[in-house]
């Protein structure tokens, strides 16, 4: 195991049962991601980007091969261990933000910290810091319905970053945003990547995102066809 690599996949295969047979979503993926990378998995719809992110995020397990995240093999983790890995080290950003609508901005960002049993004062400080990173300190009492799409995605970033995770997985984070908001979001994530040394892995086919990536992995039919540093 190379200590600088926080994600390693070896011969990663993922099949999904379809009818009487199988659909192969990932077909022998060998990749490594190091600490502080700002990388993206790109490719057309159905190429296997989200499946790869799900396995790296310990939300799914490989059919064959290995996916080792922070020295833990995803396929061998129990549900509890996988939840613990996500709770402590991983952050997720979704295309549709997925904020909890009944909670305020502050509470949405606070939610991951509640699972870490932090004290009230530590939680408050961490949440305010995270909201400052994304420039939303003035919206702490707002509900998601009162925010624009860009603001919602910034809250989602704050929620993913508040526990200072080692790895953030962002699945099409700009798909619902206009160009200005997309750039704002990406600049924010780029800054957090530099300041906190957090690894970001995107799944995207958005050119606006691709421009910001330091490393671009192209998938096609479940296979890596290109892995380039940009």
């Amino acid at each position: 195991m190379n200590n600088s690599h926080i994600v390693i996949t070896e011969g990663l295969v993922k099949h999904y049962p379809i009818g009487g047979g199988y659909f192969t979503a990932l077909d022998g993926i060998d990749l490594q991601f190091g600490t502080g990378e700002f990388a993206g998995v790109v490719g057309p719809s159905g190429s296997g980007k989200t499946t790869l992110l799900n396995i790296i995020g310990s939300l799914d397990s490989p059919s064959e091969g290995k996916a080792v995240i922070l020295d833990q093999s995803v396929g061998e983790l129990s549900q509890k261990q996988a939840a613990h890995l996500r709770k402590k080290y991983l952050g997720f950003i979704f295309q549709t933000y997925n904020l909890l609508p009944v909670y305020t901005v502050f509470e949405n960002v606070e939610f991951p910290l509640l699972l870490l049993n932090m004290s009230v004062s530590d939680r408050r400080k961490a949440v305010l810091d995270a909201l400052e990173w994304v420039g939303l300190n003035d919206k702490i009492k707002s509900r998601p319905a009162q925010l624009s799409g860009g603001e919602c995605q910034r809250v989602a970033i704050a929620r993913a970053m508040v526990k200072k995770p080692r790895l953030v997985l962002a699945d099409e984070p700009t798909a619902n945003l206009d160009a200005a908001n997309s750039h704002h979001i990406l600049q924010t994530m780029e800054k957090l990547n530099k300041d906190l040394d957090t690894t970001f892995i995107f799944a995207t086919h958005d050119d606006k995102v691709i421009k910001y990536l330091k490393r671009k992995i192209t998938l096609e039919d479940g296979k890596v066809i290109k892995d380039e540093i940009t």
């Binding site: 499946t51 799900n54 995020g57 939300l59 799914d60 549900q79 509890k80 996988a82 939840a83 613990h84 890995l85 996500r86 709770k87 402590k88 991983l90 997720f92 979704f94 295309q95 549709t96 997925n98 904020l99 909890l100 609508p101 009944v102 909670y103 509470e107 606070e110 939610f111 991951p112 509640l114 699972l115 929620r159």
Partner: protein, 425 residues
């Protein structure tokens, strides 16, 4: 964490207020139905026991064989001795003398000629002994329409409808023509002290209430009575309890060789039809309550199920931030149980209030019972029973929680990534 989840529950009305209202409504209906059906069941037995059967009845064996004809020639004799014995054997029960008999009620004009007359059914009860429970048992004060309750010998109450038919008013004199216990003709003059409305068509057509001592005098029944009625200490009919009293009495005093020996029958044994009818009502009520609770359970189970399913999105987010499946599942069940408890408590309180109102006021069915020949109460009252305090929790708490538990199983059955797909859609 619990505070955080509770805050969300309170703020999301679709998760808290709406399910609570649905649960409360279902539970309220269940509680009310249980009380109302119990009231109807008890109403039949209660009404019959008060007016004619008692919870148990002592008669001669010969009288019991022809009970429908009320044959006073087969009445019990030496009743003071019998009643003394049963009062000793069952001091906590209330024992009363009753005689029912038929006769022709004649209304004379100022010359003593018949002005009007009609067949009547008389119920003789103890109205004049100070402290007698009989006027209260028959709620004479409540059913009095005109005049007053008899307070001296020779006074009677007559049904208001019958009085209108005979064109008599309180204060008028009437003559009851019948036959004595020994078969000779009997003519006895009474003064109408008041008119009453029984609320039972068959009685309102021609019933009168006379004092027991007057009936004894008119029918030549010294120390005799058609029947001795016994009422259980609780005031409510209980077939099992009544059966024990009957068995004890019959083993002691009934002589199978002597048709004039006393025999005691409980309410449901006195009339094959009534017994069967009560059993049927009992069974039907149980089935209705069971089916209703089952139906409400399915409705509320679905409420829990849908409530759980619509939260798969939220489940996805919570899984993403690292909450365990078991923790999410447990929190959903706690939430559902909390809603079930609140809804059930609320529904039970409203259902009981509604039942209390119907218990006090009753639902008047006399207009649809006008032609009835069967003795039935004109009003059905609900009855609040101890079961009503907890039966609503079966659909309210258990079904709602079960629904959530079943929908929550999906969290385990589905792969986490699948929940995310549902989250994204």
């Amino acid at each position: 964490m619990i505070r955080f989840l509770f805050k969300g529950l309170l703020r999301d009305r679709q998760r808290s207020l709406l399910p609570s209202i649905v649960v409360a409504a279902g539970v309220m209906l269940t509680v009310f139905l249980v009380c109302y059906l119990t009231g109807i069941m008890g109403g039949f037995a209660d009404f019959t026991s008060k007016f004619s059967s008692g919870h148990v009845k002592i008669m001669t064996r010969a009288y019991a064989d022809n009970m429908n004809q009320k044959p006073i020639d087969l009445a019990l004799t030496d009743v003071s001795e019998i009643i003394e014995k049963v009062r000793q054997d069952h001091p906590d029960m209330d024992w009363v003398l009753r005689t029912q008999f038929g006769g022709l009620l004649d209304v004379p004009d100022e010359n003593g000629e018949t002005r009007s007359q009609g067949p009547s059914m008389a119920i003789a009860i103890d109205m004049l002994t100070p402290g007698s429970k009989e006027p209260g048992r028959l709620t004479l004060d409540n059913i009095l329409v005109k005049g007053s309750i008899p307070d001296s010998p020779g006074e009677i109450l007559i049904s208001d409808e019958f009085a209108t038919k005979l064109e008599v008013v309180p204060g008028d004199a009437v003559t009851l023509m019948g036959s004595t216990m020994y078969g000779s003709m009997s003519f006895y003059n009474f003064t109408i002290s008041g008119t009453i409305r029984f609320g039972v068509s068959v009685m309102d057509r021609g019933a009168i209430i006379v004092d027991f001592s007057d009936a004894q005098a008119a029918l030549d029944m010294q120390d005799a009575s058609g029947e001795i009625l016994g009422y259980l200490p609780s005031g409510n009919y209980n077939g099992e309890e009544a059966g024990v009293v009957c068995a004890s009495f019959n083993s002691k005093y009934t002589d199978p060789e002597d048709e004039f020996s006393p025999v005691m029958l409980k309410l449901s044994e006195q009339d094959e039809f009534l017994g069967g009818y009560l059993e049927m009502i009992d069974a039907v009520a149980l089935i209705v309550v069971f089916v209703f609770i089952l139906a409400m359970s399915i409705v509320l189970w679905n409420t829990g199920l849908i409530g759980g399913l619509r939260r798969y999105g939220e489940v996805g987010v919570r899984l993403a931030v690292g909450e365990g499946k078991g923790h999410i599942y447990k929190s959903m069940i706690y939430e559902s149980a909390m809603i079930g408890i609140i809804g059930s408590a609320l529904g039970t309180i409203i259902g009981l209030l509604f039942a209390y109102w119907v218990q006090e006021k009753g639902i008047d069915i006399s207009s649809i019972m006008k032609g009835a020949t069967m003795m039935m109460p004109g009003k059905f009252h609900a009855k609040i029973v101890p079961e009503a305090y907890y039966l609503g929790f079966i659909p309210g708490l258990f079904s709602t929680t079960l629904g959530t538990m079943l929908s929550g199983i999906g969290i385990y059955k589905r792969k986490t990534a699948q929940l995310f797909k549902e989250l994204e859609t």
